[in-house]
């Protein structure tokens, strides 16, 4: 086992012996299930209405009525849930003074950051995988196009990865977990809200730049089933930037 794998294993164990994963996971899955239920019932009601108006079997589009709405709503759920998962990663080490031990171990800061990030990413992808039950069950009773669903899942995975990297960054800045969670909420909400500013400025250079910085339009395209390289580049570069900043913060923590 390499040092990075050792850190991943230790962090995963840390998550599963504390109640965090169970509570966060249960809430996440509950909300996902509840939202799915609402949108499906809503789609069903629309189908009945259509049938009464047209007579005969109505064709409703689950991709539009259920999945697109569901994935759009999940943005907010991810924003609330993921900082809770990441807040302990560095803050706890600093609080319990094990940070000094990690920093004096013969491993690079890169490896520490990578190990911690990958561990929380695995937890998130696991939770996301469990939500796959919803489309699988729906598939048994209805007919829809899988491709936009898969690209929507790719969108959630990429968005979640970006949120997690912001969370890890926030956690490295403080030794207080609550502060870490709030700093990541703050950063993510700000990035979210500036898309409104971008919309306001419209099709000017400033407006385009601001819209690009926000994750909203990149995520929306993926949810609509559009996989564009520029969006993948956005998420990839955002992730690298946040992990790089985390590295700098961890490095600078030694100087204080």
């Amino acid at each position: 086992m390499t040092p990075v794998q050792a850190i991943i294993a230790k962090e995963l164990r840390g998550y599963f012996v504390s109640p965090i994963v169970y509570v966060v996971g249960a809430v996440f899955l509950l909300i996902f299930g509840f939202l799915s239920y609402l949108y499906i019932v809503f789609a069903g009601a629309q189908a009945i209405q259509l049938m009464q108006m047209q007579g005969g079997m109505a064709q409703i589009n689950l991709n539009d009525l259920v999945f697109r709405n569901l994935f759009s709503s999940m943005r907010f759920v991810l924003l609330i849930i993921l900082p809770i998962l990441t807040m302990r990663l560095f803050a706890e080490e600093r609080k319990l003074r094990t940070f000094e031990f990690l920093m004096t171990s013969p491993i690079g800061i890169n490896e520490i950051v990578a190990g911690k990030f990958v561990s929380v990413l695995l937890i998130f992808l696991g939770l996301l995988g469990l939500t796959g039950l919803v489309p699988i069950v729906l598939m048994l009773f209805s007919d829809f196009d899988w491709n936009p669903v898969l690209s929507g899942y790719l969108g959630m995975a990429l968005l979640g990865t970006l949120f997690l990297s912001v969370g890890v960054f926030a956690s490295a800045m403080t030794e207080n977990q609550i502060v870490a969670a709030f700093v990541s909420f703050g950063i993510l909400l700000t990035i979210w809200l500036i898309s409104g500013l971008g919309g306001l400025l419209g099709d000017t250079t400033a407006g385009r730049i601001i819209s690009y910085v926000s994750f909203m339009e990149h995520y929306d395209r993926l949810v609509r089933g559009l996989i564009d390289t520029s969006d993948l580049v956005y998420f990839g570069s955002g992730l690298i930037l946040m992990l790089f900043l985390t590295h700098r913060i961890v490095e600078s923590a030694r100087w204080k």
């Binding site: 086992m1 003074r97 094990t98």
Partner: protein
């Protein structure tokens, strides 16, 4: 093995350590002695590559702490002030994690694990969660962590804090057994500990080294007179003047109990014989007669008082006397 040249560490305007220079040979045990806040932990953190020095160079096993930190980290075992343990892991899991971080695998790791668990007598708690262990056990787990990869250099920040008297003696024995094959730096404010396990003592105060020598040499260097304690059964009022008549006696102070006197005489003279003769001829009833040697504690207080004015020694004294039974027992013996 360890070579420190003129290191200075500043936090803003505060200078934690100021141009500190010392070295540790292979197999030597060195104690860092000083009141709280003297800069011991800062110096150790620099050596362990946790933080860089503002100025100066520190080298461990030939590698520079600032330029080749990974090489240095591979060669040291470091026990920070607070034992760096993860409460959610069991002792075995924790030590396995530590070993893997240091690149140990397979049989290598298991045998190192068994050895360090055996050395620190953690066998009975190896499957228990560290969070449920007492302070003393956590401290021992911290030490097991530092010893796990059998590093040539050990940096131990107050290794016996939180242990009970029996464990303190065991840990000191362990450190003594490491001397010869390992270079050890340990910090402490328990003076008998330094006398018990170290070949050399560095006294650090206010961020500067105020003395560096063997414990015996240090006390000899600072001794300006010989002191003799004498206890009499029936001392008359004029016994002090009669004792003063003995040539060579410089001063007499009344002791803590009735009939006890502290006699100061010139350096290099043993006047016990003469004192006994005077006491016997006057029939004052000699109950006790012994020389008092200057302990490291006296040296320490003398040096730190000298350096920091009069407010500091009171604190230093409080910290040394509050260390419990073992400290006082050993001073007495």
């Amino acid at each position: 093995m360890i070579d420190v040249q003129n290191i200075t560490k500043r936090y803003g305007h505060h200078t934690a350590i100021d141009r500190v220079t010392f070295s540790v040979a292979k197999g030597e045990v060195l104690a860092f002695l000083g009141p709280n806040g003297a800069g011991k932990t800062t110096a150790m953190r620099i050596l362990a590559c946790f933080m860089p020095a503002t100025e100066g160079t520190a080298r461990v096993a030939g590698f520079d702490c600032a330029d080749q930190p990974l090489e240095v980290k591979r060669r040291i075992g470091y026990l920070p002030e607070t034992p760096p343990v993860y409460q959610e892991l069991t002792v075995t899991e924790y030590l396995t994690f530590v070993g893997r971080l240091r690149g140990m695998v397979g049989r290598n790791l298991t045998s190192a694990l068994d050895q360090s668990i055996g050395r620190l007598e953690l066998g009975s708690v190896r499957q228990r969660l560290i969070g449920n262990l007492s302070r003393g056990y956590r401290q021992r787990v911290g030490l097991a962590q530092a010893l796990l990869h059998d590093p040539p250099v050990l940096i131990l920040d107050e290794p016996t804090v939180g242990l009970d008297p029996k464990q303190i003696i065991e840990i000191r024995e362990l450190i003594k057994s490491l001397a010869g094959s390992h270079s050890v730096i340990l910090s402490t404010h328990i003076l008998p500990e330094a006398t018990a396990v170290c070949q050399r003592v560095v006294i650090i105060s206010g961020g500067r080294i105020v003395a560096e020598d063997t414990p015996e040499q240090l006390s000899a260097r600072l001794r300006q007179s010989e002191k003799i304690s004498v206890t009499l059964k029936t001392p008359p009022a004029d016994c002090e003047t009669k004792l003063r008549a003995i040539p060579g006696i410089l001063n007499i102070f009344p002791g803590q109990t009735t009939g006890n006197f502290l006699i100061e005489c010139a350096l290099g003279r043993d006047l016990r014989d003469e004192i006994a003769r005077v006491v016997a001829s006057n029939q004052w009833g000699l109950l006790e007669l012994r020389t008092i040697s200057m302990t490291l504690e006296d040296v320490f207080l003398h040096l730190t008082r000298h350096e920091e004015g009069l407010s500091q020694p009171a604190e230093a004294m409080a910290s040394t006397t509050s260390d419990g039974t073992v400290a006082t027992q050993e001073t007495a013996s």
